[in-house]
């Protein structure tokens, strides 16, 4: 509780927390939508925002407000699937490479180097081209999870490396604690906040990549996400025709989401690193 109170003193934390809260409520609202998001022509087309249609309607005859609630929900679902799965990989690789080290560690770190150096985006595009007809929320999440772990595995590894040198590791080993228990009981409490902050960053990365892939036409355009929503607006020339409410909705929503995730991760990691915390309070 104290931690939460401290965190809320940082305006960035409270702002991002509120934005994420609102986006989450919007996502939950999609469960009560009066329209099926995949159907066309459920409402009159190209209407400006009004009290009946809060954010107007698009050229496909869909209510943009309700479409947006589905888009946020699906984008968040992909982000959560991809980010939590890639966390599992990152934690495993980071812990093994950090704790065991040796040949395994070198090989694992080389692998993560390869992932960092190669333009992964193009590899993802190549893979997405192969499965684009069968792309669902889950396949997209899986695809992005395979590629999102390399940097964070390094971060976790260096944390474990420093924990390994601490006195309590020796105490635990000498008193007969097994490796698995040592890692789970002694190291995890230290690593959890760090893993959480990498999770948030990774979610932002996933949402961004989903938008990029949608823009390239590499996802299933019938599933409303922030990316496909924007892509439909672009392909119907919403800019030229002046339907600003259609194109601005996904842009503003995604900017809000990115800023909120970033501020959340910055305020948490600054809180975790006492040096910057002192600097912030000091100035």
């Amino acid at each position: 509780m104290r931690i939460l109170k401290d965190l809320f003193e940082d305006y960035r934390f409270s702002v991002s927390f509120s934005i994420l809260g609102i986006l989450l409520i919007l996502a939950i609202l999609s469960l009560f939508s009066p329209y099926d998001p995949t159907l066309w022509g459920t409402v009159p087309r190209d209407l400006k925002p009004s009290w009946t249609y809060l954010l107007g309607t698009n050229s496909k005859g869909q209510d943009i407000f309700w479409q947006a609630t589905f888009a946020i929900r699906n984008s968040l679902v992909i982000a959560v699937i991809a980010a939590s799965l890639s966390r599992v990989i990152a934690v495993l690789v980071g812990m093994v490479a950090g704790y065991k080290g040796g040949k395994t560690g070198t090989v694992l770190m080389f692998l993560s180097d390869v992932f960092l150096v190669i333009p992964l985006f193009l590899i993802i595009v190549m893979l997405a081209m192969l499965v684009r007809e069968k792309m669902t929320l889950v396949t997209l999440g899986l695809l992005l999870a395979v590629f999102g772990w390399a940097w964070d595995a390094r971060v976790i590894r260096s944390q474990i490396l420093s924990l390994r040198e601490r006195g309590f590791t020796q105490t635990a080993i000498l008193s007969g604690t097994g490796t698995v228990r040592l890692v789970l009981n002694e190291y995890m409490p230290f690593a959890t906040p760090l893993i959480f902050s990498t999770l948030i960053n990774n979610m932002a990365w996933v949402v961004g990549l989903e938008i990029t892939l949608a823009f390239l036409g590499l996802v299933n355009m019938e599933i409303p996400t922030l990316g496909t929503m924007l892509q439909w607006a672009i392909s119907y020339q919403a800019i030229l025709l002046g339907y600003w409410w259609w194109i601005l909705t996904p842009i503003i929503l995604s900017i809000l989401l990115f800023v909120a995730l970033y501020w959340l991760s910055v305020s948490i990691s600054e809180y975790l690193d006492p040096r910057t915390r002192i600097q912030r309070v000091g100035t």
Binding site: D113, V114, I118, P119, L130, F258, V259, Q279
Partner: protein, 335 residues
Amino acid sequence: MAFIKGYLIPRLIQYILVIFLGLTAVFIIPRLTPTDPVNRTITQLRSMGSYLDPASMNAFIEDLNELYGLEGSTLEQYGAFWKRLFKGDFGVSYFQFPTPVNQLIKTAIPWTLGMLLMTTVLSWILGNIIGGLAGYFSRSQWSRIIDTFTMIIRPIPYYIFAFALLLLLAYVIPIFPVSGGTGIGRQFALNLPYILDVLRHAFLPALSLVLIGSAVWFQTMKLVVQNVNAEDFVQYAKFGGIRERRIASKYVIRNAMLPQITSLALSIGQIFSGALITEIVFSYPGLGMLLYNAIITGDYNLIMGITALSIVGITTAILILDLLYPLFDPRVRYI
């Protein structure tokens, strides 16, 4: 000698291994699907409405098989793949049949390379200088204002930011051209109007890359400077009565720049993919636009060519930065 053995050779081995793995992935990925790329191409050509009589169709299929390197066992195909890579031959493009992929890439590269070099260098310098000053004078009003500004634009992906800029500067305040690399139908010429036209068209994509890029450098630089600021030698310089401005530029920022060079090497790949997408938003005629057309038309040869080339290009750029590092940091001589 020690430098060569202790640093250069392991680094070169790593470089070659990374390229080898990356290009092997480029070879494997298209072979992961059960659908035959040749069949797919044929159906695509048919659906576009072109009719071929059976005899010429067979000849065409054989051509394709050879082009895609689908003759013989997987291992033989793999050998053929490397042979073609060393010759720098990526086959023929389908989106502009029968232009070789090589030629398409060759015309696109100067645009991307120019844009990438210019924006990366510019944003690195801008972000580091402003970030350094803001870190040194972190108590001042302007430093905080810039900090908040970068906090907002930094997390926005290039692509979304480019779109916001496009909406703002091309429609609300129309001063810059929305798309293309030059005006329509303009021929290449080395004269002032042509260069000005190129620059004017490059402005919007470059602006979105530079703004976000410098926001990233600004933030890390500000943090690093705040840490260097607390070091003893800076305190000593202050007590010694050296002027603030001199301390900031010669003592603090110079030291803080060093880790930024390493970060630059690490983020080149990301900057590159961001630039590709930004190009597409503004229909800028570089590699990104080429990639987009390749995806839309399902031109796998072209995508493979672009990917293979980017892997080699980016790993080489990182290698060069790594090897140049001792020039910037006299403490590291890789002894």
